[in-house]
């Protein structure tokens, strides 16, 4: 049955791969370099390079009449970023992103919790698909579907009328700030659609985080006298937090940057994404557009840093 050599040390391999393999074994650093050779230039040079180039543009200015860029270092653009009209845009967007994130987490949590802790077997698969289907359905078409729902002549109004609840809707629309002429022309509408479109991004990370919470920690809490509410507050929630943070990277960032939703469902008050889009595309003011992008970059920078600290990357 002796089908292999008796030598304690086998001969060197002569095939190309064999030699290469020996070579990499002896030079692990070179091997690492080989692995990183394709992705690192792509992400580290092309992508990061583009980002830096963009940031650099924010230090130029634009000739107001002809719309051509004036390649001279200036902080003017940033001064412009902070004029009240622009600052409003930033504030409005960040508040919206925060609220959308909060609401997404609130709606996503029960779904994720159920899927993680109770759904089994076939149900679990069904839940997963039920989350994935809306997640991957065409973003644009979803947004337009909401336009139909929220319009003054739309389905929601129709439904409220059928239920004789139009007064309720009108009362809401009469409120300052959140109200408006119709839901599709109000912050309420923008908010609903943002939540709808980004919320699925929250479910899977929370579910993943919850699934990693060992059941016996929940039992331990009960064992030590914690009632279900206390167990949730002191054990489950803190341990699901990395998942919530991971999910909120998406909800927050996607809200910060989107320009399509507030354009279609909104009251013409700009969001950062629209401002960037408008400055870049409509006004051709690349420096100001670049300065606007600094806001999400800084915010997401902090966000990622915090997420990393909280171990949220594992839940992505």
């Amino acid at each position: 049955m002796s089908v292999v050599a008796e030598n304690p040390i086998l001969a060197r391999r002569t095939s190309t791969f064999g030699r290469l393999s020996d070579y990499f074994w002896l030079n692990p650093k070179l091997f690492l370099l080989m692995l990183l050779a394709p992705p690192l230039p792509w992400l580290g040079i092309i992508y990061l390079g583009s980002l830096f180039a963009l940031l650099l543009q924010s230090f130029f200015s634009i000739d107001e009449f002809s719309g051509l860029i004036n390649y001279e270092f200036t902080l003017d653009t940033y001064r412009q970023l902070l004029i009240p009209a622009n600052f409003d845009i930033i504030l409005r967007t960040v508040i919206m992103a925060a609220l959308v994130t909060l609401a997404s987490a609130l709606i996503a949590f029960p779904i994720a919790y159920y899927a993680a802790r109770y759904a089994r077997g076939k149900w679990k698969a069904l839940f997963y698909l039920a989350v994935m289907l809306p997640l991957w359905s065409s973003y644009l078409v979803k947004v337009y579907a909401w336009k139909l729902i929220l319009a003054k002549e739309g389905i929601l109004n129709w439904g409220f009328a059928k239920l004789h609840l139009t007064w309720l809707l009108d009362a809401w629309l009469a409120l300052p700030v959140v109200g408006g002429n119709s839901l599709s022309i109000s912050y309420t509408g923008t908010f609903i659609v943002f939540v709808y479109v980004w919320m699925p991004f929250m479910i899977l990370p929370i579910q993943a985080a919850l699934e990693r919470v060992p059941v016996n920690l929940i039992e331990a809490s009960a064992d030590l006298g914690g009632n279900p509410g206390q167990t949730f507050r002191h054990v489950l929630f803190p341990l699901a937090l990395p998942g919530i943070i991971a999910g909120s990277i998406f909800t927050f960032s996607l809200t910060l940057g989107d320009y399509i939703i507030p354009q279609i469902i909104g009251s013409s008050r700009l969001f950062i994404g629209q401002a960037v889009y408008a400055q870049q595309g409509t006004a051709g003011n690349i420096p100001l557009a670049a300065a606007f992008t600094v806001v999400p970059i800084v915010i997401m920078g902090f966000y990622l840093w915090m997420a990393k600290k909280r171990g949220a990357f594992d839940a992505l």
Binding site: N86, D88, K152, G180, S182, S268, A275, T282, A283
Partner: protein
Amino acid sequence: QEPLTELGKGEGEVSIVAWAGYIERGETDKNYDWVTDFEKQTGCKVSVKTAATSDEMVALMNEGGFDLVTASGDASNRLIAGKRVQPINTDLIPSWKTIDERLQNAPWNTVKGVHYGTPYLWGPNVLMYNTEVFKGEAPKSWNVVFEEMTLPDGKSNKGRIQAYDGPIHIADAANYLMAHKPELGIKDPYELNEDQYKAALDLLRVQRTLVGRYWHDAMIQIDDFKNEGVVASGSWPFQVNLMQAEKQPIASTFPEEGVTGWSDTTMLHADSQHPNCAYMWMEHSLSPKVQGDAAAWFGAVPSVPAACKGNALLGDEGCKTNGFENFDKIRFWKTPTSKCETQGECVPYHRWVSDYIGVIGGR
């Protein structure tokens, strides 16, 4: 830059930045098609990028990659100043002579005697309204979109009107003030000193409280009139025509304060890759058939008076209906500059841009 001296063979394609409804190939209505034949005859395939505002057009031209643009007066001078467009050789455009003389040397297409493009269409910014709400009676004044009031149907105009989402709309406010606050001394709605400008913005701030959503895209405005309960707005004849074709209760009017308007020029990009096809298109665009069809479709006035006669789509009354005789009453879009004829020092366009964003944002 020296213009082309001789027309060569077509390059096979031409790309045009245009207003919605300006260049139709029969996709919405088979009868309105002035592209297919051109492509067949010249072998130049036409691609169109629609832009919703003049700013967008300027930005697209700055970015490059296009041959032609149908620029309004508030964009054309900027394009010329920025050297984004090139002078044209009118000799290469046989139909140049047929152009309405009022337009041949208009300040928005001719600088220091040099022509930058061929006039395409012109027209007014009309007041579009819902005939049911206004009980069949056209509103007399622009005040329905500037001041809170009860409309003939007994409900407030609040939340039921719209305004154009472009800084040039400040001129509409100034135009309104010319009639209602003569003490401001506005002579030209595109040339405003600080006080006049401030008064216009104040008026627009009032308007903001009445407007639910500003209109940016012609098609979306149509949607808003149909689905969002909007009943009055400054608009283009284009939207009016489309909705009337759909049997919507829509009409338009020239209010007593007069109107702003646009006169558009087909301009050639400085770095055009397909100048021959571009010249062919400019020539094509001046043919009475195209002029008439396009004017009919958009609800505009042709630049070639010959088009007013015998065009099936436009009809013989078409030019008159669309304002052929009102040329002098229309205050055409142009770019506000700091040096201005009427008062020496005016608020320049970049302030209009940022301040209008502020007004819409509630500042």
